[in-house]
């Protein structure tokens, strides 16, 4: 259950983004969590409910985007979708593949409350 530590780190990145944009309130946080990131989306959501208390994101909504596991075969160059524990080419079955997606643990974007004139300036 390291999702709380992950959440605290997420909130640190969110606070940094808010400060850089002169905002004092976060409305929405969008993250991408792949099955191979080692983080469980539902657990992250529950941890967020605890971790956000008293932070700039206390009233923010957390959106967790699921990411498919996709591999590209080094032999037949085909990209296919697969499972986290079967990183094999969907066409030839080889394990000589590169992970194209599925390992993400990314803060994608934040929606921030800003004074109307500041928003208009961007």
């Amino acid at each position: 259950m390291h999702e709380l530590a992950v959440c605290q780190s997420l909130l640190g990145e969110v606070a940094r983004a808010a400060a850089a944009n002169g905002s004092h309130e976060v409305i929405r946080i969008v993250v991408a969590v792949g099955p191979l990131s080692g983080v469980e989306g539902p657990l992250l959501a529950r941890a967020f409910d605890v971790a956000r208390c008293g932070t700039i994101a206390e009233h923010a909504a957390l959106e967790i985007e699921a990411v498919p596991v996709r591999v590209r075969c080094r032999i037949c160059a085909v990209e296919t979708e697969t499972r986290a524990n079967a990183l094999l080419c969907g066409r030839c079955g080889s394990w000589q593949v590169d992970l194209e997606s599925g390992g993400e643990l990314l803060l994608q974007r934040v929606e921030l409350a800003v004074e109307a004139d500041a928003a208009a300036a961007v």
Binding site: N85, A86, L112
Partner: protein, 251 residues
């Protein structure tokens, strides 16, 4: 009660606070900002700092991970004996509680720093950074970091290591790599430990374990070791020597 919306705020709070934005002098709007940074960015930056710092001292750092009880500390004890003076080892031990493992390593004459994480299920880059202050980096060639026994959480946190080693004891299931793909995909070397028990266990197949590691698109070498059979450690020590040479060549 607030007259504006009927919420439970007292009149005093309504007066002094920027209540619901209703009395805000300036209108508020929202702004969407694309970020695209890793959620563990802060840890990753500290880890990169550790790696650079260790690199400057010519130190190879290896992160050892496994379930509790798969023999990490016994492997380290026997490794220290088997290495002799060929290179200088130091150890960072991670456990929730007790100094026991660090004591076992120090009894072998090797410097060891114990990190007790309390309820935290993994080591992170900051803990390792702090532990490095307890070691004389000029007197180390190989730093072995024994992570908290756990096949889930440690896989997400970069410590600043140069290589990951995952232990899988033959007393566990040979399908552990399929059950914990994030951990075993990250392994640069997999060690099937307690291999001396294989004769009395009919339900662990090294070939099946290797198949599960390959199904994670992981080409990692798979060694068979036993801390009770020091002769089985030679390929592991040779691997460490190769990694140390590569690490120093890259520095």
């Amino acid at each position: 009660m607030c007259d504006q919306c009927g919420c439970a705020a007292t009149p005093e709070i309504v007066r002094i606070a920027d209540h619901h934005g209703a009395f805000s002098a300036r209108p508020v709007s929202s702004k969407s900002v694309e970020i695209l940074t890793g959620i563990l960015n802060a840890n990753d930056r500290r880890a990169a700092h550790n790696r650079a710092h260790l690199g400057r001292h010519g130190i190879l750092a290896v992160n050892l991970m496994s379930s509790p009880g798969s023999g990490k500390t016994s492997l380290l004890e026997q490794t220290i004996d088997a290495v002799g003076g060929r290179f200088r080892i130091a150890v960072i031990e991670g456990d929730l509680e007790t100094e026991n493992d660090a004591r076992r390593i120090r009894a072998k004459g090797v410097p060891a720093v114990q990190i007790t994480t309390g309820q935290t299920c993994h080591l992170d880059a900051e803990m390792v950074h702090d532990a490095l202050h307890g070691l004389d980096l000029a007197a180390i060639d190989v730093l072995l970091i024994e992570n908290v026994g756990n096949l889930v959480c440690p896989a997400s946190f970069d410590l600043g290591q140069h290589a990951n080693v995952a232990l899988l004891a033959v007393t566990e299931g040979d399908d552990k790599p399929a059950k914990y793909p994030t951990m075993f995909r990250a392994a640069d070397l997999v060690m099937l430990s307690k291999i001396d028990l294989l004769d009395v266990l009919d339900d662990f197949s090294p070939a099946a374990a290797e198949g599960h590691v390959r199904a994670l698109a992981n080409p990692a070498e798979i060694l068979r070791t036993s801390a009770r059979r020091p002769e089985t450690l030679a390929p592991w020590i040779a691997w460490l020597e190769r990694q140390l040479a590569d690490c120093r060549a890259a520095a």
